[in-house]
């Protein structure tokens, strides 16, 4: 797995807190996403991943803390930032009764993509779904829909890409294709990707850096390999389960550092 040297920070969350009826869904959450990096957000259901993602997309306003993209404050430069970013989620859809090309053309125009028809053809080819061009979006399979959604997310050649569980409900073959596409996008566009998933294979294969969330707090972070080693676990899935059940994990490295004179 390529591990690019961290460069320019393109997305930053500083001490982000988000409360819902007195419960902290995010608690002083901080993050730095570099250009060319794939950063994975992990955690059990309710850990705060989606809230973090929604705050970063400007869909939910944080209770306190700051959010910056390309060095600019998110809320006051929202449109400017969104033109350079894009998003795809397993939980959203494109209008079902439109044809694939119609949906993509609308978003290409919204993002002011030059030569939209050519760009759409290029992306459909990249995703190996050129044959779906004139198909009704609502009649696509889950795997086809995911790839069409990814086409939408890549229309504007985003510098910042937020992917929310892009392989959810996909079979292993299509999930593998999607992972390869994500890596290809990263290397071709040199964009920063924020990635959430419950699929540990995804995470190990795609992400350079991971952040484990529990009850809105970052409880562990590092490279996938590093995290497994530090937690004396055999797999990333073990780490996930330990954190989800116990809420914390013994960081062996930190322990050794404490003991050392």
């Amino acid at each position: 797995m390529p591990s690019p040297i961290p460069s320019e920070v393109i997305l930053e969350a500083r001490d982000l807190t988000r409360e819902f009826d007195g419960v902290k869904a995010l608690d002083k959450f901080s993050l730095k996403l570099h250009r060319g990096q794939v950063l994975g957000l992990l955690g059990a259901n309710g850990a705060g991943k989606t809230t973090a993602m929604n705050c970063m997309l400007g869909l939910t306003l944080p209770t306190s803390g700051g959010l910056y993209a390309f060095g600019k404050e998110l809320q006051s430069h929202r449109i400017e930032i969104l033109r350079r970013a894009n998003f795809s989620s397993a939980y959203t859809a494109l209008p079902a009764n439109l044809l694939v090309w119609q949906n993509l053309l609308v978003f290409a125009k919204i993002y002011r993509v030059p030569k939209p028809k050519e760009r759409i053809a290029e992306l459909l080819e990249m995703m190996e779904i050129t044959h779906l061009h004139k198909r009704v979006t609502g009649q696509l399979s889950a795997g086809e829909s995911t790839r069409v959604n990814l086409c939408k997310a890549l229309l504007n050649k985003p510098e910042l890409l937020l992917l929310d569980e892009p392989t959810a409900s996909l079979d292993p073959d299509i999930a593998d294709k999607v992972r390869k596409i994500v890596l290809r996008i990263r290397s071709e566009l040199n964009c920063g990707i924020l990635y959430t998933s419950h699929n540990m294979k995804d995470i190990e294969e795609v992400c350079d850096h991971l952040m484990f969330l529990h009850k809105g707090k970052v409880v562990m972070e590092g490279t996938p390999k590093d995290i497994v080693e530090r937690s004396s676990s055999s797999t990333l899935e073990d780490v996930f389960i330990k954190i989800a059940r116990d809420g914390e994990i013994v960081d062996e490295t930190a322990k050794k550092e404490e003991v050392a004179p």
């Binding site: 988000r18 819902f20 869904a25 989606t50 809230t51 929604n54 997309l57 400007g58 869909l59 939910t60 306003l61 449109i79 400017e80 969104l82 033109r83 894009n86 998003f87 989620s89 939980y91 959203t92 859809a93 494109l94 209008p95 079902a96 009764n97 439109l98 044809l99 119609q102 053309l105 609308v106 978003f107 125009k109 919204i110 993002y111 002011r112 939408k152």
Partner: protein, 266 residues
Amino acid sequence: MSLHVIQALVLRYLFLYTRSPMRLIELIFWPVVELVIWGYLTLFIQENTTGDFPRIIVFLLGAMILWDVIFRAQQGVAISFLEDVWTRNLLNVFVAPVRTVEYLAATFCVGFLRILVTVTVLGLVAGLMYAFNIFTLGWALLPFFMNLMVSGWALGMISTALILRWGQAAESLAWAVPFFIQPFIAVFYPVSAIKPEWVQTISWALPPTHVFEGMREVLKTGVFAWDKFFWAAGLNIIFLTAAGMVFFYMLTLTRRRGLLTKFATQ
């Protein structure tokens, strides 16, 4: 405000309508049914009474068509928003570089297009079946249409704001809101018929009342009621601004409470 973005959003609605004949039928079916029923009723009364009824049929059919202008404009805003909710596309739009005013402007355009389709069909049906010429109102038709369309947009923003606030459980408001004011805006009867009299004060505070009273005046005297036009336009500016503020407030509240994503992915 970017015209490109508005154009793209309108294009999406055009694709939606052209891809779904049922949507087009819905635009025409109910207004035509209403028009036919009202038309037959007034013809029946006309044949069985004497006096001023030829004018009354013109009033009723004119009112019927103009009421649809408000309703279709309101639907243009509210239903366009619901289309995004139903298709789970709302998040894609809200995380795209689309300003709220651009989104609203696109729904206003959809409202305008819906009016064009409905009024053209109603005008043709009224002309063919009842020899009612919608242009009896002459040039007065245009400023009246504009005023009613703006009232419809304002009602559309209020409906959408309420749906944003209370979620999909409040969807029926997309159809109900115009009917909350219908009894008070003197669509089919003059303001003087509204009782008790203090309710008339409420009626005069609503912009469409001035349009419907103005329409009756044009049909009766042939003179354009400028005072009614300016009252309607002035009140419309106030109503549209207030509705816009309510919409922006509700949208901010929804974002602050984190309800937008839950609502959009339900």
